[in-house]
Structures are given as structure tokens and as C-alpha cells.
């Protein structure tokens, strides 16, 4: 039975989550690259959005959300076979067409997050082929594990809005792509700074607002869960932003805008898996934890691992998502204002399940991404030539320039 209130909220949430990618993430990433590469980033975001949308209907949705086995869904809903105008998702008050669309916006943003790793030096043909294969081979199965009745769901893993499904998969895969692709010229000492920090803030602000749809929409209903999810999401974003600002302030003498809004995204990624299970104290606690850990992860990835994960996808999304997934087992406790644990589950056993979920996802995302990269290298090419990189991908890949002065 369709509930008009629930349906109205998820319709709204769906628009909010699409808005996170178009144009939120595009502007967030676009401002962080050099002026000669802005269009390439905007283009990658919107082209991935279009590609993921079509693939989601062709097979992605079916592989994630139709029957199948514990590891992957079946193909019974490929091309949305059997989906009717009147169909309602079991256990909810929303139409299946809306659920398909809502989940599609998650399938759009996740491969788009990976863009941050390989900007300024990758062939556009690689971006398209990699993103398409990745959606079907990594994203759809992991979604099935967690949300589609797969083996992690059966274990009782907590991932309300995609800490595992979205942020760990994207963060780990981003690192694997960079490992294979190599660094930008001049990394780490001679790379150019972000060309438009104001644009980074505008994009981050859009992501922040859009994230209300991402997390509160994941309740799939307009009620108490959605309301608390929105509250804790906002608190985590705010707390992590302040943490990041303060570390910059103490360390370098000035609180920086790019730093603060990076903290915002770290806080949002961290609360995501826990957003339906924790209370306000959990929201702030997760924001503080995510802010600190992600800040230092940025330095560790670039300085210690020597990985030019250019826009910090692993450090912000991967580490944030994993932190939130693990700490969800702590802050879900009723003593800390959470919803409590399932029957037969304690904080310890829940934490164990969360660890299994995180580790299994890291392994699958890493192995599968490496294989996909190898396939793409043979088919589409991978790295742009040095001349193309120096001239900028805007003109060499797309024949356009971002700015004419």
C-alpha cells in the first residue's frame, strides 16, 4: 500500500541525492583541480551519471536487489522485467519505481566519487569503461550483500546509508586505480594548488544538503528514523568541520576554507553507515572521530604510501566510511542514545560483524578493481600522454576550455 507521505519524502530525497553528484560533487572536485582540467572533471561526473543510470536499469538494479544467492542478485529484473507501475517495495510504503530511482542515484555517485583519485591524467575512454564495469562488478554485488538480502545482511551488518556500499568501495577502488595509474607530474612537491577554492566550498555545501536525502532518505519512510538521521548527519558534518578547521589553525596558523569543507565531507561519510542507528551524541562523536582520522589519513596516504590519490578519496571516503561502519556498533548502544542491538547481538558481536563487513568489502573492491583496471588498460587505454597532461585534459580530451579571458 503506497503511503503518500513516505513517497513524497523519498521523491524529494532522490532529487537531493542526484543533486549531490550534479552538480555538487562535480563542483567540489572541479574546484580542486587546475584551471586547465576543470571541464574534464565536470564531464566525467555527468557522463558517469548518465552511464550509471542506464546500466542500473539494464542490470545493476537486478544484480543488487533481485533474489539471486548470498553473493550476487539474479537477472530476473534485468531491464526492469516484472516491475509494474503499481508495484510497492515489501515492508515500505513506496513504489518500486521510486526505490529503483532512489537507489540509482547512489549507483551514480559512487563511481563518480572515484574520479577524485585519477583526475588530471586519465583518458576519458578509461573513465567510461572502468566506471561501467565497476558498477556491475563491484558496486551491485556489494549492494546485494548489504541491502539486497546477501550474506552480510544475513549476518546483521549495520550500514544504514552506505558506509560499506558507497564509501569503502569507492575509497578502496580509488586507491587501487591510483596505484596502477601513477602520480601526477611533480607529485608530491610540485603539483599545482586548487584553482578555485570557492567552488570547492559551493560543491561541498551542495553535498551537505544533498546528504540529508542520502541518509534521511535511506529510512525509506518519512518518520522518526528519517528525522533522527537528518539530525545526526548534520551534527557529524558540523563537528568534523570544526575538527578539521582547528587542526589547520593550530598546525599552520590559519583556519582554511578548503580544509574546513573537506572536514565536512569526512564527517558526512563517517556518519553515513551509522545515521539510522545513533543519537545526537553519536552524531557528534562520529563527527569528531571522522574529522581526526581522515585529517591524518590524508597525510599518511600521500606522504607514507606515496599514493597520489589526488583529491583524497581513500582518506576521506574510505577511512570515513570504515570509521563510521565500525563505530556504528558502539554508538548504536542505547546507553549512548542509539537504537540498541538486534536480538542476540551485543556491542562486541555487532562490532565483529562490522569488521567482517569492512574487511570483506575492502578485499573484494581491491581485487575486482585491479582486474577491471587490467581489462580497461588493454581495451581503452589508461593514462593520457605527457603532452596531453601538460596542455590540460579540457582541450586535449574534450576540445573545450573552461575559461576564456
Amino acid at each position: 500500500m503506497v503511503d503518500s507521505g513516505d513517497t513524497a519524502w523519498i521523491l524529494t530525497s532522490t532529487a537531493l541525492v542526484l543533486f549531490m553528484t550534479l552538480p555538487g560533487l562535480a563542483l567540489f572536485y572541479g574546484g580542486l583541480v587546475q584551471a586547465k582540467n576543470i571541464l574534464s572533471v565536470l564531464m566525467q561526473c555527468i557522463a558517469i551519471a548518465c552511464l550509471a543510470s542506464v546500466l542500473w536499469v539494464v542490470a545493476g538494479y537486478s544484480l543488487a536487489f533481485s533474489g539471486g544467492n548470498a553473493l550476487v542478485g539474479g537477472l530476473s529484473k534485468a531491464f526492469l522485467a516484472g516491475v509494474t507501475r503499481d508495484g510497492v517495495v515489501d515492508g515500505t510504503g513506496i513504489p518500486e519505481t521510486l526505490f529503483i530511482m532512489f537507489q540509482m542515484t547512489f549507483a551514480i555517485i559512487t563511481p563518480a566519487l572515484i574520479i577524485g583519485a585519477y583526475v588530471e591524467r586519465v583518458k576519458f575512454s578509461f573513465v567510461m569503461l572502468f566506471s561501467g564495469l565497476w558498477l556491475l562488478v563491484v558496486y551491485a554485488p556489494v549492494t546485494h550483500w548489504v541491502w539486497g538480502g546477501g550474506w552480510l545482511a544475513n549476518l546483521g551488518v549495520l550500514d544504514f546509508a552506505g558506509g560499506i556500499v558507497v564509501h569503502i568501495t569507492a575509497g578502496v577502488s580509488a586507491a587501487v586505480v591510483v596505484w596502477q595509474l601513477g602520480a601526477r607530474q611533480g607529485f608530491p612537491d610540485q603539483v599545482r594548488p586548487p584553482h578555485a577554492p570557492w567552488m570547492v566550498m559551493v560543491g561541498a555545501a551542495m553535498l551537505w544538503v544533498g546528504w540529508f536525502g542520502f541518509n534521511a532518505g535511506s529510512a525509506l519512510a518519512a518518520g522518526t528514523d528519517a528525522s533522527m538521521a537528518m539530525l545526526v548527519t548534520h551534527l557529524s558534518a558540523s563537528a568534523a568541520s570544526l575538527v578539521w578547521m582547528c587542526i589547520d589553525w593550530v598546525k599552520f596558523g590559519k583556519p582554511s576554507l578548503v580544509g574546513l569543507v573537506t572536514g565536512t565531507i569526512a564527517g558526512l561519510a563517517t556518519i553515513t553507515p551509522a545515521s539510522g542507528f545513533v543519537g545526537p551524541a553519536g552524531g557528534i562523536g562520529l563527527g569528531l572521530a571522522g574529522g581526526f582520522l581522515c585529517y591524518y589519513a590524508v597525510d599518511i596516504v600521500k606522504s607514507r604510501f606515496k599514493l597520489d590519490d589526488s583529491l583524497d578519496v581513500l582518506a576521506v571516503h574510505g577511512v570515513g566510511g570504515a570509521t563510521g561502519t565500525l563505530l556504528a556498533a558502539v554508538f548504536a548502544s542505547t546507553a549512548l542514545g542509539g537504537v540498541g542491538f538486534a536480538d542476540g547481538m551485543s556491542m562486541g558481536s555487532q562490532f565483529g560483524v562490522q569488521v567482517i563487513g569492512v574487511v570483506a568489502t575492502i578485499v573484494w573492491a581491491a581485487v575486482a578493481s585491479l582486474l577491471i583496471v587490467k581489462v580497461c588498460q588493454a581495451v581503452s587505454g589508461f593514462r593520457s600522454s605527457d603532452e596531453e597532461i601538460i596542455e590540460g585534459l579540457d582541450f586535449t580530451s574534450h576540445g573545450e576550455k573552461g575559461y576564456h579571458f
Partner: protein
Amino acid sequence: MKWIIAIIQPHRLDAVRDALNEIGIAGLTVTEVRGYGRQKGQTEIYRGAEYQISYLPKLKLELAVDSKGVAKVVDTICESAGTGKIGDGKVFVLDLKSAVRIRTGETGNDAL
């Protein structure tokens, strides 16, 4: 006639123009340029990483003046553009062989 080229801090432009107006200088060409001198650029910090900005934005002022007024113009530019900090810029003076006002065909000092 002399051709004066001054490299100055962008935020001093209004002060320099006002000062030159006061001593009767009627024309000035401004170009946005980037470069470095002893200031050696600056460091910017994004996400905890330091970026060396080697070429800093400056303005290049160019003006033609009667030889008699050169010293006063140079002094005026130095006074109005100066902040006392490293990076204030430089003033160069070159000999200018000829000048023509396109509209009237006037030449030499009359064209200035």
C-alpha cells in the same frame, strides 16, 4: 622623453593612480602580470599540504613622460606604491625615441 615601467603590488594601484593624477600625469597603461623577485613567491596550504606559488600576481604600469618630469614621477610611484615590505616591486626608466598621437598626428612631447 622617457618610458617608465613600474612593477607594483596589485593592491597599490589606486594609490599610485591618484598620486600620479595629482602631479598631472594624464595617461597610464596597466597589465596584469606574474613574476618573482627576491620575494621568491609564497606558500599556500590546502588540506595540510604546502604548495609553492612561484609566480605572484603583480601589475605592470607603463607611461611615457617628458624627460624633465622623470625624477618626480619615479619618486611619486615609489612613495605611493611602497608598503615597506618585501615584494613592493621595481621601477625602470628607458629612453623613448618618439611618440605620435594617432588622432592628430602630433609628435614628441606634444603627443604625451
